[in-house]
């Protein structure tokens, strides 16, 4: 059973990934991304990480993808991207990138063939059965061992919010002023 789920999800993930990079319409890319993200969420479930899966869906699959779609429509970039780069000397980029990609995968797979597990166990907390979702364990570890990181990420979020507002607002204000002056 596990194998089937894995196969299906893996297929979904990879299809989505290739779709992201190959789709010419950015909106299509966003949707393919969504597909990938959901596939990964299911894989998380399989790996006894239910809370993480839930968070993945809530934050990534919905919020972030929606954010992408917002920006795409806001900027009107759903138009198709030109096939050739505007800069003529960048023709080597694609072939080189593909070669590098192949090398990279080959390398990883070569390494992945070996046994990875070092035998270390349960430093922080043991995983429970997949059904439980490990919420308690996760929460306990998060708020004791990782509380410092937790607080900092909270600050990070605040900064990100402020940053986002400031960045997006400034150009907006300039435009309205120019518009008012012209009118």
């Amino acid at each position: 059973m596990e194998a089937v789920i894995f196969l299906v999800c893996a297929a979904a993930v990879l299809t989505g990934a290739f779709g992201v990079i190959l789709a010419r319409n950015p909106v299509h890319s966003a949707l393919f991304l969504l597909m990938t993200l959901v596939g990964i969420a299911v894989l998380y479930l399989q790996l006894a990480a239910a809370l993480v899966a839930a968070i993945q869906i809530v934050v990534y699959a919905s919020a972030i993808v929606v954010l992408f779609l917002f920006v795409i429509t806001l900027l009107g970039v759903d138009r198709l991207e030109p096939a050739e780069s505007t800069v003529s000397t960048r023709r080597l980029q694609t072939p080189v990138a593909v070669v590098l990609g192949v090398l990279f995968v080959a390398g990883i797979i070569a390494l992945a063939g070996d046994t990875w597990a070092t035998g270390a166990r349960s430093v922080r907390g043991r995983l429970g059965p997949a059904r439980d979702g490990n919420v308690e364990t996760l929460a306990r570890v998060l708020f004791t061992d990782f509380v410092w990181a937790f607080e900092i990420t909270a600050v990070l979020l605040v900064i990100a919010v402020i940053g986002g507002v400031v960045l997006a607002r400034r150009s907006g204000r300039r435009e309205t002023t120019a518009g008012e002056a012209g009118a």
Binding site: L100, F104, D114
Partner: protein, 643 residues
């Protein structure tokens, strides 16, 4: 305070004119004319007094103690100590240097005083005297130095001052060129001096004069090399063939300069050097012969050129070259005392002649061509009288000083068996008498060929007084070394004997022999005088046509241009050297050296231009490079894991 203590203070002698020079260089303009001149003259006078005191102190010591090099050095300091070389800046008073300082400061004081009158009204009056004092200080350092290096310092100093003073009126291009010529020619000789010093240090381990006693221990080839190299330096400084070319041109300088530097003192530095370093010349089999023959040749060569010269100072310049040749003749054969004797009396009468010529030039308002002079005896009686005394001295007429000195030189040649040298010297004496008489006739006697606009007048007393003093010295100066050895009248020879210990001093085998030689010399001199008098008795009927030049025909032109030596050197030496220099400056320096440096810069720029293209500004390229790096690291890990 005993005599030795006084000798330790010998540094005062050069310090006095040096101080004068410093003061005049810094504050000369404010001191102004004529006080600057009097300051400089006073310094020289004080230096003379100091020299006299040193002379007396030295004289109070017994004979051998006078040349005790270690004990008689003055206070000073160790200038440099590098490896095995230790050079002291100290002064040595011995009979030789004492003699030199006496006539340098004595004649120098007289010339300084004369210059106060001669340079009257010059815009750079104070500067002139600063240079004169600086020169005197350098010359004194030269002769008083306790070692070759200190002497060389003075050597270079006088070369510098010679340049500064020759081109003193540098607004005239000919003067500037002459100054450069003098300096460069001197420098060529200096190379010889330097090389000799290298060899001396290498073989003797020390450059002090105390090391000279070991010169005889060195192998023959080494001493010959050292001696000849020192002589090269002397040739440059004392204007012997072939480095004589600068002295006639040096007449561009003011006449006091010609008198002091190019007659009485600087040019004698070469002879002094040979005398000082005589152990090398004595130890060498052939160096002395070279010196003597170069001197003899130059003496005759310069004398022949002098007979057709028309510039009053140029005649004297060639005369100086010739007389220096006689000094080297004497030094070369080992007759050092005769050489020094001639040097001293030559200083007297040559300075007198130059100053007299300067008086004539001054009186005729800068006229220097003898063809436009004549019959000045009446208008400038004192100048004429003193000049005549100088003339008789240089011609070698008894009892004037020059007779005794020149006679001594020729006699020494005869006594040592160098009959060929004696003959050359005799012929040269004939010419000397001839051209000097010619000069006196053309200037003071004969017909009046002056430009009617020019009003001749006698010079002021400040110029005439030194003339008189020098005339007196030219008259009685011979008394310092009369050849009556049995009567002990050869004071100079006795005085210098400790310095030239070990050098044979032959004398006349009998009184008759000596008397006969002197008579021959005197006859030749008088003969030359009479010939010239008869030719120029009535002056020149046509200023452009000199009777002797007519007689010589095309040879006259050769003599006038000094056998075209200057032109020859220009064609053979300066020409190729300039071409070589141009080659080095052009293809070598500009293209190769600069080219290499520029190429380095250019290639760096080009390389950076290439590298710059990595900075595309495109995010995707940078990301590509990042991924590339990651892949490389990954591959490295894989490879490590596999093997």
């Amino acid at each position: 305070m005993d005599a030795r203590d006084l000798l330790h203070l010998a540094w005062v002698i050069p310090a006095l004119p040096a101080a004068g020079a410093v003061v005049l260089l810094l504050a000369g303009r404010r001191i102004g004319e004529p006080r600057a001149g009097w300051l400089a003259t006073t310094m020289m006078g004080l230096a003379f007094l100091a020299s006299f005191v040193a002379f007396l102190a030295l004289r109070s010591l017994p004979g051998e103690a006078r040349v005790d090099v270690a004990a008689n050095v003055s206070q000073g300091y160790t200038w440099m100590k590098v490896g095995g070389l230790s050079v002291d800046f100290r002064f040595l008073v011995d009979p030789l240097s004492s003699t030199m300082t006496l006539f340098i400061t004595g004649v120098g004081t007289l010339i300084h005083a004369y210059a106060i009158g001669y340079m009257h009204g010059d815009a750079r009056f104070s500067r002139f005297f600063a240079y004169l004092n600086l020169f005197a200080a350098s010359m004194l350092v030269l002769v008083l130095g306790s070692g070759f290096v200190t002497t060389f310092m003075g050597w270079e100093g006088v070369g510098l001052c010679s340049y500064l003073l020759i081109s003193f009126w540098f607004e005239r291009e000919s003067a500037a060129v002459a100054g450069k010529k003098a300096f460069v020619t001197n420098r060529i000789g200096d190379v010889g001096f330097l090389l000799a010093m290298f060899l001396i240090f290498r073989n003797l381990g020390s450059l002090g004069y105390g090391s000279l006693e070991r010169a005889a221990d060195l192998p023959g080839s080494t001493v010959t090399a050292i001696a000849l190299l020192l002589f090269v330096g002397a040739v440059g400084k004392s204007a012997q063939f072939p480095l004589h070319i600068w002295l006639p041109d040096a007449m561009e300088g003011p006449t006091p300069v010609s008198a002091l530097i190019h007659a009485a003192t600087m040019v004698t530095a070469g002879v002094f050097l040979v005398a000082r370093a005589h152990p090398f010349f004595e130890a060498s089999a052939h160096a002395g012969t070279v010196v003597a023959w170069v001197g003899a040749f130059t003496a005759l060569f310069a004398a022949t050129v002098a007979i057709v010269q028309n510039d009053i100072k140029r005649v004297l310049a060639w005369s100086t070259v010739s007389q220096l040749g006689y000094m080297f003749l004497a030094a070369g054969i080992g007759a050092y005392t005769a050489a020094i004797f001639l040097m001293v009396v030559h200083a007297f009468f040559k300075a007198l002649l130059f100053l007299g010529a300067g008086s004539v030039i001054h009186g005729l308002h800068e006229e220097q061509d003898m063809r436009r002079m004549g019959r000045l005896r009446a208008l400038m009686p004192i100048t004429a009288a003193t000049f005549i005394i100088g003339w008789l001295a240089i011609a070698g007429v008894v009892p004037f000083a020059g007779f005794w000195a020149k006679d001594e030189v020729l006699a020494q040649a005869w006594f040592r068996g160098d009959y060929a040298l004696w003959a050359v010297g005799l012929v040269g004496a004939l010419f000397t008498a001839f051209y000097m008489t010619r000069q006196v006739m053309l200037v003071f006697f004969g017909n009046d060929r002056r430009d009617p606009e020019v009003h001749a007048h006698e010079s002021p007393w400040i110029m005439l007084a030194p003339l008189g003093a020098l005339a007196g010295l030219s008259l009685v100066g011979g008394a310092i070394n009369l050849p009556f050895t049995t009567a002990g009248l050869d004071f100079l020879a006795h005085w210098l004997e400790p310095v030239f210990e070990g050098v044979p001093e032959p004398h006349a085998s009998s009184f008759a022999q000596g008397f006969l030689l002197s008579t021959v010399a005197l006859t030749v001199a008088v003969g030359g005088i009479l010939i010239a008098v008869s030719v120029y008795r009535r002056g020149l009927s046509d200023p452009e046509r000199d009777p002797v030049a007519e007689r010589l025909g095309p040879l006259a032109r050769v003599l006038e241009n000094a056998y075209f030596v200057d032109a020859g050197i220009a064609r053979l030496v300066s020409g190729p050297l300039s071409a070589f220099a141009r080659f080095l400056a052009g293809p070598v320096d500009r293209d190769v050296v600069d080219g290499t440096v520029n190429a380095v810069g250019e290639s760096t720029a080009r390389l950076s231009g290439l590298v710059r293209r990595l900075q595309t500004g495109l995010v995707r390229n940078y990301a590509l490079v990042v991924v590339l790096g990651a892949v490389l690291i990954l591959l490295y890990v894989v490879v490590r894991a596999t093997f």
